[in-house]
């Protein structure tokens, strides 16, 4: 009789970590010191008041801002109420993200000024239609769990682009979306649109369909717009991503540990303020952390330090029990090429291994300035490969197959064995666009590069007939929100057409 095992550790998946628990604590306590002794600059009097009433020390107040110093106990208090799990559900009520420790979801990035034209391969300013197209591609890709615009709608009014951008995304996808907003009014309008899309405020409460992207400025600076958005989200049950983008060597210390200390202080301030405003407010922290390339001065999205920092920050957020906003699927290449494949493959693998929750920026090129449908499609395949690896190596009598080896014996083969027949479809990962033919067959089929096959797939997705996600009445209702916003702000636009 084979009795059950006990006192036996099983790695059901591979495990990966960057920081030891002691190192995490060293970083955390250093952050507490920064929050208390250096403080953060807050450009919003309401935010300053909230912090002060919660126990913060307010100093050096100028016309616009104050230096806010946060004692440690405030962080402890906030950590007691900050949710360890955040749920976002798409308007179809099917695509969902359960964001908590070790759950991985991949999605795009937002607001790139440029896109690679899916037909010509040319880089140009992105438009409403591009944003819609990227959303349609995201909808078609099984390993995309949430969406971000992957372009700015630059053929609409500039000051109210965010509503149009949201509309374009709603036209293309029913997956959860991480939106951006020009200002607090932009959040309000998009929330109204979300209510329309999902069927009212009560339905929203059952499962918000978007998160809001909020970006404080490094080092340690929280603008009025940022604080106002944060407070609005706390008041209206909107989960939000509070994500600084510290740049090692420029807006953060060069040493990666130092960057993590500063980023964590920035995030913790968001946690403290949100929990003071509304205990239980849903915040996702993290962000984009990388180094300045000291030769080109760009913000590197493809560097190994980016992947490493994101993974290390995930270790910290897992320890904190707060959902993480990770970064992957992005590159500094200017087109989808071998560089984009290399940087994307490794940062996708790193983010998957570490279990970062909401892994964004899939499809970014050129240091975050350009979105690329081809990189989206290729990333979908790379994510699929990484997910195969994440299945790990089960060690069971069936998997060890000692009896099968005995039956086959030295010099035999396993091709016809039941053990193979019953498992080959699940054990062996099947590629979509990756080519494994021999040279002759590949050559006869046209000898296409992977990039060309990916390009063909992009076009295929875009030209496929799909059911519209919004019926006409709903579309008109949503559009009206955008048009009203345009009317309110028409005087703020420049006389010249800015982009396209």
């Amino acid at each position: 009789m084979m009795v059950n095992r006990h006192n036996y550790d099983v790695n059901a998946t591979p495990t990966f970590r960057v920081l030891s628990e002691d190192q995490i604590e060293a970083i955390y306590y250093a952050s507490l010191r920064v929050l208390y002794e250096t403080g953060v600059r807050v450009y919003d009097s309401e935010g300053v008041d909230v912090a002060q009433s919660g126990g913060a020390i307010v100093e050096d107040t100028t016309e616009k801002s104050s230096l806010v110093k946060v004692p440690h106990y405030m962080v402890d208090k906030a950590r007691a109420t900050v949710p360890s799990k955040v749920v976002v559900i798409g308007p179809d009520r099917k695509h969902r993200m359960e964001l908590y420790k070790n759950q991985i979801y991949y999605g795009g990035g937002s607001d790139t000024p440029y896109t690679i034209d899916p037909y010509t391969g040319e880089r140009r300013r992105s438009t409403y239609n591009d944003v819609k197209n990227c959303a349609r591609i995201a909808q078609a890709l099984p390993n995309y769990d949430f969406h971000m615009s992957l372009g700015i709608t630059q053929d609409t009014a500039v000051g109210t682009y965010d509503r149009w951008q949201y509309l374009a995304m709603l036209e293309g996808t029913s997956k959860p979306i991480n939106i951006t907003a020009v200002d607090i009014e932009g959040v309000r309008d998009q929330l109204e649109m979300a209510y329309i899309r999902v069927g009212g405020k009560e339905e929203w409460r059952k499962g918000p369909i978007f998160t809001l992207y909020i970006e404080p400025v490094s080092p340690l600076s929280h603008s009025q717009e940022v604080i106002q958005k944060l407070l609005f989200c706390c008041d209206n049950h909107i989960p939000f991503v509070y994500t600084p983008c510290p740049l090692a060597g420029a807006t953060a210390p060069t040493t990666l540990a130092g960057l993590l200390v500063q980023a964590l202080a920035e995030s913790l301030f968001g946690i403290v303020l949100s929990q003071l405003r509304n205990p239980g407010a849903q915040i996702i922290i993290g962000g984009l952390m990388s180094n300045m390339d000291m030769l080109s001065t760009i913000y590197s999205y493809g560097s190994p330090e980016m992947a490493l920092l994101s993974a290390a920050y995930t270790d910290i957020t897992k320890w904190l029990r707060v959902p993480e906003y990770e970064t992957a699927g992005c590159s500094d290449a200017k087109l989808f090429d071998e560089q984009a494949a290399m940087e994307g493959a490794i940062n996708i693998a790193t983010s998957g291994l570490i279990g970062g929750n909401m892994i964004h920026d899939v499809g970014y090129l050129d240091s975050g300035l350009t979105s690329c449908p081809e990189l989206m499609v290729a990333s979908d395949e790379m994510i699929d490969m990484v997910k195969r690896i994440l299945q790990g190596i089960p060690v069971t009598p069936e998997a060890m197959a000692l009896d099968v080896m005995e039956q086959v014996g030295p010099g035999g083969h396993f091709m016809e064995h039941d053990h193979t027949y019953e498992r080959f479809k699940t054990e062996i990962w099947r590629p979509k666009l990756i080519d494994r033919q021999n040279w002759e067959n590949w050559n006869m089929a046209g000898g296409k590069r992977y990039g060309e096959r990916v390009h063909d797939r992009v076009v295929e997705i875009l030209e496929a007939e799909t059911e519209p996600l919004l019926d006409d009445a709903m579309y008109q209702e949503l559009r009206r929100v955008c048009e009203l916003a345009d009317a309110r702000h028409k005087d703020e636009e420049l006389d010249v057409k800015m982009f396209v």
Partner: protein, 213 residues
């Protein structure tokens, strides 16, 4: 070239801020002409820095150090230099426009312009149009440089240009713009005179605008 001028150039390349100042003082004490020290010491060093940076042999923190040592040396020479600009390439008022708090790119351009011999007046970030017009009146710069990281705040470049025009100051300054989402086409659309696609080119554009008059 005399040994001390060579040492000054080497000091610039090595980013030796105090060393360069000492050497410049020593050269003056030895009776070297200020103009000679500038042309054959400081500028020679900085030109080599530019060359090495382009060839990926020097990194931006080292270039900034070199720029700072250049600036220090130049400040020592300035009272002794002839001409209305006193050895300066020109004067720049620089700022990140209203609504935008991202200023790392603007800082980089400012530092590199200082290294290129400009006097730089920094308006910081979130600078409204009237801050720019006031600065033009007060400092009488040759160039106004504006930076933005967001497409929404790029509009503020347009507002600021308009404010400069309305204040009757447009023909007194050249205007250049930069920042990640900005491109040459946009610069042209809003009527700017120059566009820098990154920090290093920003400093070059500034020099070209001065040379073009």
């Amino acid at each position: 070239m005399s040994q001390i001028l060579e040492q000054i150039a080497t000091g610039i390349i090595g980013g030796d801020i105090q060393g360069v100042e000492k050497l410049v003082q020593k050269a003056l004490d030895e009776g070297q002409e200020a103009e000679t020290i500038l042309q054959n010491g400081l500028i020679v060093g900085m030109a080599e820095v530019g060359k090495r940076f382009k060839a990926a042999q020097m990194f931006i923190p080292e270039v900034l150090r070199a720029a700072k040592s250049m600036h220090g040396g130049q400040e020592l020479l300035r009272p002794l230099l002839a001409g209305d600009k006193a050895g300066r390439a020109g004067k720049i008022v620089i700022g990140t426009v209203q609504g935008d708090l991202h200023d790392i790119g603007k800082n980089l351009v400012g530092m590199l312009c200082e290294g290129a011999g400009f006097e730089v007046v920094d308006l910081g970030f979130d600078a409204p149009p009237d801050k720019f017009t006031e600065a033009i009146k007060t400092h009488q710069p040759d160039i106004v440089a504006m930076s933005a990281l967001l497409t929404t705040t790029m509009r503020a470049m347009g507002y600021t240009l308009k404010a400069i025009e309305e204040a009757g100051l447009r023909d007194k300054v050249k205007v250049m713009v930069g920042g990640a989402p900005v491109d040459a086409e946009f610069a042209e659309r809003i009527g700017a005179d120059g566009y820098g696609h990154n920090a290093v080119s920003g400093a070059e554009v500034a020099r070209n605008l001065i040379e073009a008059g």
